[in-house]
C-alpha cells in the first residue's frame, strides 16, 4: 500500500455546483489557489471561462469576493484594488488576478507588462488552456504549434510556436515567477503560498488542460498534465528576480509523441510534424538547461531529482525567506 505523502489543505473554499466542464484545469487551479491563500483574498477575473464558471445569479462558487472585469484590464484592475487596500490600511488581503491565456498573452498583455514593470504588489495567475475556449476554441498566442482550433483548422493548423510567457515575464525581472500544473497540487499550492510571502509582482503560469478544446476525455486531464511535464513540453520551475531559475521537478524526457497523440487537437499531425514539435521542445529544454546551469539555481538543479523532492522544497523555502521581506 502506498503512503499518503501529501494532504491538501482541507478547507474547500470553491463550492461545488460551478459551471465548469468536467476535467477543467482552470477550475482545479481555482480550487487549489483558494486552498493555498485562504479567504482573505480578492480575485480579479477578466473575460475568460471563469467569468462564466463562477456561476449565474444567485450563485458564486468562488467563496471569496470576485471582481469580474473587462478583458484587457485584469492586471490594471488588480493594481487599482491593491492600491486602494493599501491606502485604506489593509496590508493583509491578497489580491489575485486570475486570467486565461487570451487575457494574459494577448489582449491583457499590455496591462500585464505594465504591472510587472511597476512591480505592482499582487499575484497574477494565468490558467493557460492554450486557446480562447470560452468563445468557442479560437487560437491565442498560447496555442502551441500544430494545434487545431476553429481558427487554425486541421488543413492549416497553427504555424507559429507558443509565446514563451515565462521568458517574457522573466525579462521584466519580477521577484517571483513559477510554472505549475494541476497534476501536482502540492507543488502548485507550495508555489502559491511562496508567492503570498513575497512582495511585488508575482506570476504563476498554470498548465490547464481543456477536454472540450483539446479533444480528450475529462478523466485524462491529470494524465495529460503529467505527460506535458515529463515530456518537457511544460517544465515545472521557479524564477526568482527574473534571473535565478530553479527546476521544481526533473522531467523524464518521455517522447512528445505520447503527449500529442492523446489529444484530438493534434490528430491531423503527421509524424514529421511531431518530430518538429519534439525538436522545438528539445531546443527549448536545452536553452532552459543553460539558464538553470548558469544561475544560482545550478546547485539546486543537482538536487532536484524527483525522489529528493522533500529536501528540495525545503531548500526552496529557505531561499524564499531571504526574499520574502525585500520590499
Amino acid at each position: 500500500m502506498g503512503q499518503i505523502k501529501y494532504q491538501l489543505p482541507p478547507e474547500e473554499i470553491l463550492a461545488p455546483g460551478h459551471f465548469a466542464c468536467p476535467g477543467c484545469g482552470g477550475t482545479l487551479t481555482m480550487r487549489y489557489m483558494l486552498k493555498a491563500l485562504g479567504r482573505k483574498v480578492i480575485v480579479v477575473i477578466p473575460a475568460c471561462c471563469w467569468s462564466v464558471i463562477d456561476g449565474p445569479v444567485p450563485y458564486s462558487a468562488a467563496g471569496v469576493p470576485v471582481f469580474h472585469t473587462a478583458f484587457e484590464t485584469a492586471a490594471s484592475t488588480a493594481s487599482g484594488v491593491k492600491a486602494g487596500l493599501e491606502a485604506q490600511g489593509d496590508h493583509e488581503t491578497t489580491v489575485v488576478a486570475f486570467a486565461g491565456d487570451g487575457g494574459t498573452f494577448d489582449i491583457g498583455f499590455q496591462a500585464l507588462s505594465g504591472a510587472a514593470e511597476r512591480n505592482e504588489d499582487f499575484i497574477y495567475i494565468c490558467y493557460d488552456n492554450e486557446a480562447y475556449m470560452n468563445t468557442g476554441i479560437q487560437r491565442s498566442s498560447a496555442t502551441p504549434f500544430g494545434a487545431w482550433t476553429t481558427t487554425t483548422p486541421a488543413e492549416s493548423p497553427k504555424a507559429e510556436k507558443k509565446k514563451n510567457i515565462v521568458e517574457v515575464l522573466a525579462a521584466h525581472r519580477i521577484p517571483y515567477l513559477a510554472t505549475a500544473s494541476v497534476a501536482y497540487p502540492d507543488d502548485m499550492i507550495a508555489k502559491i503560498q511562496r508567492a503570498k510571502d513575497i512582495s511585488g509582482f508575482r506570476f504563476i503560469h498554470v498548465f490547464s488542460p481543456c477536454p472540450p478544446g483539446w479533444k480528450f476525455e475529462p478523466e485524462d486531464s491529470i494524465k495529460i498534465s503529467r505527460m506535458a511535464i515529463e515530456s518537457r513540453v511544460f517544465p515545472l520551475l521557479e524564477v526568482f528576480d527574473g534571473v535565478d531559475y530553479r527546476l521544481s521537478r526533473q522531467p523524464a524526457g518521455t517522447p512528445v509523441r505520447d503527449y500529442i497523440r492523446m489529444q484530438g487537437r493534434f490528430r491531423h499531425l503527421r509524424e514529421d510534424q511531431i518530430e518538429e514539435i519534439q525538436k522545438y521542445v528539445d531546443e527549448d529544454w536545452e536553452r532552459l538547461s543553460v539558464r538553470l546551469a548558469s544561475t544560482k539555481g545550478a546547485e539546486h538543479l543537482k538536487k532536484a531529482a524527483p525522489q529528493k523532492e522533500k529536501e528540495s522544497s525545503r531548500t526552496k523555502r529557505a531561499a524564499t525567506k531571504v526574499r520574502s521581506r525585500q520590499k
Binding site: 479560437q138 498566442s141 481558427t151
Partner: protein, 377 residues
C-alpha cells in the same frame, strides 16, 4: 427554382463580404460575432486572400486600416465590448479616409453585458462614435438575405466614399440558422475605389479635393506616389496642420462627402397600404417581429405601414418623413430600454404621436406591438 441552404446571419455576412471582393479580414473572438471570424478564416485563405487572427480588437481594426491603405477591401467583426476598443481606430479610419467595414453584432450591454443575450443597445453609440459628429454609414440587416445584401452594399459605400462603414446586426439575426433561398439573393454589383491616375504635370496629394464633397483618389501607401496617412488634422497633402483654412476645409469635407450623399447610399424597405394611419419603424431582429405584427393588424383591417430601417445612419430623414406621410401615429420597435432610435425619429415629427415598443434582455413579441397599436384605437 428555390435553392435552400441552412445559414445564419454571420455566415451570410461572410458570403456577402466575399462576394463584395473583401480580400482581407482580421478577427478577434467575441460572441456573438465569432461566426464571421470563423467563416473568413475558412474561406479567404482558400482564395489566396488574407485572414488574420489578431491579439485584440484594437489590433484587428488597425490591421484592416493598414491593409486597406495598401488597397485591400478589408473587414473585421466584433460585438459591443470589442467595438468600444475599436473606436479610436475607427476615428482614425474616418480621418484618414480608409475604406473598411466593421460588422458589429450587438449583444446585451453595457460592458460585458450578456455575451449570449441579444440587444439593440449600440445604435446611438455607433452612429455617434466619431468626435465632432462626423457621419459614418450604418446599415442594419434583419434577415440572412439582408445580411448578404447589406454587406455588399456596405463594402460598395466604403470603397466609393473612402469611409469606414458599420454593418450593425444583432445576436438573433447573426446566430439563428434558418432556410435561405439562394435563388432569391440579389445579384452582385461591386464598386472599387477610384485609383489615382497620374496625368502629365499633376502632383499627387493624398487628400486632393476640388469640391468639398469630393472623394480623393486613392493611391496605396508605399506605391509609386508619396502617400502620407495621418490621424492628425491635415491639409490636402496629408501634412499636419492645426487650423489653416485648408485643414478646416478637409475636415468639412469628411462630413460632407458622406452627408451630401445620404440619399444615394440609403436603402430602406417600406411596405405601406393606401392612407396608413399608423407606421411602424424598426430594424434588425425587431423588424422581423414588427413585420409579423403589421401583417396581423392588417388582417384585422387596420391601415398600418411598415418601414424596415436598413439604413440607420446617416439618418435618412427625408425617406423617413416621406414614409410616414400623413400617418397620425408612429411606433418604433427596438430592443433597448429607452427607445434609442425613436429619439432620432421623434425629432423629425414634432406634431405626431410617437410610441415605443421596447424590450431589454429579451426579444419583443408581435403581440406586444399589436397591443400597443390596437389599444389606442
Amino acid at each position: 427554382m428555390p435553392l435552400f441552404r441552412i445559414r445564419n446571419g454571420n455566415q451570410m455576412i461572410g458570403e456577402g463580404a466575399v462576394a463584395a471582393g473583401c480580400r482581407f479580414f482580421a478577427g478577434y473572438p467575441i460572441t456573438p460575432a465569432s461566426g464571421i471570424y470563423k467563416f473568413m478564416i475558412d474561406e479567404l485563405p482558400k482564395r489566396g486572400d488574407v485572414a488574420i487572427s489578431s491579439p485584440d480588437e484594437i489590433s484587428a481594426l488597425a490591421y484592416c486600416v493598414g491593409a486597406s491603405q495598401r488597397g485591400f477591401k478589408a473587414m473585421t467583426a466584433t460585438s459591443g465590448p470589442g467595438f468600444s476598443l475599436m473606436v479610436e481606430t475607427l476615428q482614425y479610419a474616418v480621418m484618414t479616409e480608409t475604406p473598411l467595414v466593421i460588422a458589429l453584432v450587438q449583444r446585451l450591454g453595457p460592458s460585458t453585458g450578456g455575451a449570449t443575450q441579444g440587444g439593440q443597445g449600440d445604435v446611438l453609440f455607433v452612429g455617434n462614435s466619431i468626435a465632432g459628429g462626423y457621419a459614418i454609414p450604418v446599415y442594419s440587416p434583419s434577415t440572412p438575405v439582408e445580411a448578404y445584401e447589406l454587406t455588399i452594399h456596405a463594402f460598395n459605400v466604403a470603397e466609393r466614399l473612402r469611409t469606414p462603414v458599420i454593418l450593425l446586426t444583432d445576436k438573433e439575426v447573426a446566430m439563428t440558422s434558418e432556410n435561405v433561398d439562394y435563388s432569391a439573393l440579389p445579384s452582385v454589383i461591386t464598386v472599387e475605389r477610384k485609383e489615382f491616375n497620374r496625368t502629365d504635370g499633376e502632383t499627387f496629394r493624398t487628400y486632393s479635393l476640388a469640391e468639398r464633397n469630393d472623394v480623393p483618389d486613392f493611391a496605396p501607401i508605399g506605391g509609386t506616389e508619396k502617400v502620407t496617412v495621418t490621424g492628425s488634422a491635415h491639409d490636402m497633402a496629408g501634412r499636419l496642420q492645426k487650423n489653416s483654412p485648408e485643414t478646416v476645409e478637409v475636415l468639412r469635407h469628411l462630413q460632407e462627402k458622406v452627408s451630401s450623399r445620404s440619399h444615394e447610399i440609403t436603402t430602406l424597405e417600406i411596405d405601406s397600404p393606401a392612407k396608413p394611419e399608423t407606421i411602424v419603424f424598426s430594424y434588425g431582429i425587431s423588424a422581423r417581429t414588427a413585420r409579423e405584427a403589421v401583417a396581423n393588424l392588417r388582417m384585422k383591417g387596420e391601415r398600418v405601414a411598415f418601414c424596415n430601417l436598413k439604413t440607420l445612419f446617416p439618418i435618412p430623414e427625408n425617406e423617413i418623413t416621406d414614409a410616414a406621410g400623413k400617418a397620425k401615429r408612429i411606433v418604433v420597435v427596438e430592443e433597448n430600454m429607452t427607445g434609442l432610435y425613436r429619439s432620432q425619429i421623434a425629432r423629425l415629427f414634432p406634431s405626431k404621436e410617437i410610441t415605443g415598443v421596447n424590450g431589454v434582455g429579451r426579444m419583443i413579441t408581435p403581440a406586444e406591438i399589436e397591443k400597443a397599436i390596437s389599444s389606442r384605437n
